[in-house]
Amino acid sequence: MNPEPPTGTPRATATLEALHITKTFPGVKALDDVSIRLAPGSVHALLGENGAGKSTLIKALTGVHQPDSGSIVVGGAERRLSDPSAARDAGIGVVHQERNVIRGFTVGENIVMGRMPRRAGRIDWAGVTREARRCLELLDLELDPSTPIVDLSSAQMQLVEIARALYTETTVLLLDEPTASISAAESDRLFRVVDRLRDEGTAILFVSHKLEEVYAHCDTVTVLRDGHSVLESEPLSAHSHDEIVDTMVGRALGSLTVPDRRARPVAAPALSLVDVTTTAGHHGVGLEVRPGEILGLYGLVGAGRTELAHAIVGLERITAGELRVNGEPVRIRSLREALHRYRVGYVTENRKEEGVFLEQSITRNIAVTVWSKLQRGPGFISAKKERDLVAGYVSDLDIRISSQSQLTGRLSGGNQQKVSLAKWLAAEPEILIIDEPTVGIDLRTKRSFYELIWKLADEGMAILLISSDLAEMITLADRIAVMDRFVINGELENSHDYDSMSRDVIHLIHSGAEVAR
């Protein structure tokens, strides 16, 4: 415990080096021999797709996870970071992707939490306010430390968490996707803080999916892919935008034969949204998906894609505009209604919490949507019909199980995702919304998923595919609609040519800003 916080400038500097870090979780090698070097007075970008290992690396650097092997050296001394406060003692501050605040406390207490200033054995509340104000001033933040933290926006909470990191002597600051869910104005403010800390000599690690801001603010870069570092602590200026994207995405999917889907039949739209406004915040959204077509809905995290899916299946309310299923204007009030009345299925992005029942058998998981069809007398389920149905999907989707009574939680992520999908396929929907189907899934399973999605489309299903994996989008979709901050910026016919398509899509995302200029 260090009751006396450091006071001010000039601040100490140190280099953080992580060498040959390996971290294995059961069944997954999350980090494989990854090294990274953060130098004082520079901003280091850590890039990679979802599931590449970025957050695991950050957690290994901050004592949340202990690496299986490798060493962490701060300012020339090797450190064993056994828990989060050991990392803090080593001068490593972090702002995680999720907000970690105590909602019942004030801004001030959230900043000094864990190391409260004390006088004569009791908490010195005047000291709390003073110290918190000092940290806030370091960031040029005009926030009253006595404000309840719940009154702040998520972006402001994030800045408070940076202030917390500065409360103790912080020479290394790790920022995990700080700009993922905040507005452009808020990002600008964050970057002013980052630039300033850099100028004062802090070593900063910056995780982001937005390459534009990475190029604008970062000096060096490390790129992770599937737990390996494909670029290791290199100057960012040596690599072009496209090179970086290539290293992030890889061309591992290159062996996949993309079917020619240009000859697909043209039918009347199965699902259409006309000028839709929702309680989630969407505005003037228009989309059309035809039977047999895969419409990709692309956007960055927080763009409002999942929320749009929720609005379609009745989990959010549509307040203006029209939702049409097979041309008929409809009002869907619940997921049950979406499925059983309008035949709209929704494969959720949150597999573990919403997609499957981890503690239940595979049979139960797949048959849940169709029990009404498996009846043998009123309310009674025919176990045989149920088994046969499930066996059909298990073999169709190539789900690797030991028996139908195996608990779904025991399956690998990819197989769990297939169970989640099978559940909806069993209900025989005409329209299927698939939300981030391949996050955290290995390449082989990914490929079989892609083939499955094409097959479903060929069979006439209208598919709305949501993904933040651009390569996946360009591989799978027939058309790509680009969403940014709850508005559709535009739609592109997919040429399946990665280079031109990725340029066009990124361009569309930023078209809002360009119109402004």
Binding site: H65, L335, H340, G355, F357, L358, E359, Q360, V368, G379
Partner: protein, 360 residues
């Protein structure tokens, strides 16, 4: 097939069964009077029957990951309605019992509705409901009865509560005196509840709601309605237990159900029902209740005070759960990277989770 048998042999149910058999053998060896049909076994089996229903009343809410603190008060309420039906309206046996069950069901439904509607933790809502009933029931008794008890007995009342099969004679043969008539309705109820959970769609939806409300919602299960249903069933079963207890003691009093709450948890939990929801066991509940009541009877025979039973019950509960926990940790080791689980906070959700058994 062999693995299926082995799976059966490692369930808590089988363990319970073995313990009960050994225990009974020991008691009989030391106190042969334990086998006295009319005076020891019949009362024992009667209380096993009644408390099994109590255990089921708790089990149905545990199945959705909720709990019912008011189970004893709901029993008192249901019994009170039956008592009023007999005493003030002179209804026949079956009609009076039906009225009591409906009363219990309505209170349960109200509880479930409040939980589903407000989203407040079931612990608190049923706790408040127990307060309310604790106040209401004695007040009604003192207003409507003399001496705070309903004593009018319709035809068949005593037969249900006190007869054994020795009183059921056919062709000159009578049944054993050790088995009370009451086991018949209780077995019927057990079978009905078991069928509900294993064979019907609604029962499975209850279990899935208990397994994960979110995933259930996302699978199109009407979770609110299932919550109301579980609490309604709990109310009906509690009322049934209260009425059966009244028939066995011979009158309806406000103190019916006083001893139900603890037993209602001990039975299902010993039997392997998960507190967190998603898995239930009817036979396990029966065995859990049987074990505790056999211990109680045994202690009585040895002249040991009832307080020892309480201590023993608590210790058994802790040991059973700790053992479960140890087994689960062993199973889970190397399965999830969840090294940082915070301490359990929500009483209803973060409970022990045995992942061993899959419902049939």
């Amino acid at each position: 097939m062999r693995s299926a048998i082995r799976a059966q042999l490692t369930t808590p149910r089988f363990l319970l069964f073995v313990i009960i058999v050994v225990l009974v053998a020991v008691i009989v060896a030391l106190k042969p009077s334990f086998l006295n049909g009319a005076f020891v076994l019949a009362p024992l089996i009667t209380s096993i029957a009644i408390f099994t229903v109590v255990g089921l009343a708790q089990m149905v809410v545990l199945s959705i990951g909720h709990m019912n603190i008011a189970v004893g008060n709901m029993a008192a309420f249901g019994a009170m309605i039956s008592g009023i039906s007999f005493d003030l309206f002179g209804l026949p046996l079956v009609a009076g019992i039906a009225a009591g069950l409906v009363g219990g069901g309505l209170i349960g439904a109200l509880t479930g509705w409040i939980i589903a509607r407000t989203g407040v933790n079931s612990f608190i809502v049923t706790l408040a409901m127990s307060f309310a009933l604790l106040g209401l029931v004695p007040t009604v008794y003192s207003a409507l009865s003399t001496g705070s008890a309903f004593v009018v007995k319709p035809a068949g009342f005593d037969a249900l509560g006190r007869d054994s099969f020795a009183d059921v004679c056919q062709f000159g043969y009578c049944g054993p005196a050790a088995i009370p008539v009451m086991v018949v309705p209780v077995i019927v109820v057990m079978v009905l509840v078991a069928v509900l959970y294993t064979k019907t769609r609604v029962g499975r939806e209850l279990l899935l709601t208990g397994s994960s409300v979110k995933a259930a919602e996302f699978s199109g299960i009407p979770t609110s309605r299932r919550i109301v249903l579980a609490h309604t069933l709990s109310g009906v079963l509690a009322a049934l237990a209260g009425i059966l207890l009244a028939t066995s003691i011979g009158s309806f009093t406000p103190s019916i159900g006083d001893e139900f709450m603890l037993q209602s948890f001990v039975g299902p939990i010993l039997g392997g029902t998960l507190l967190a929801g998603g898995y239930v066991s009817v036979t396990g509940t029966l065995l859990g209740i049987t074990l505790t009541l056999v211990i109680r009877k045994g202690l009585e025979l040895f002249g040991v005070g009832i307080e020892t039973l309480n201590v023993l019950l608590g210790v058994i509960l802790l040991i059973a759960l700790s053992a479960d926990r140890v087994r689960e940790i062993r199973l889970r080791k190397g399965r999830t990277p969840d090294a940082s689980a915070p301490p359990p906070s929500d009483p209803a959700r973060s409970a022990d989770r045995s992942t061993e058994e899959v419902p049939a």
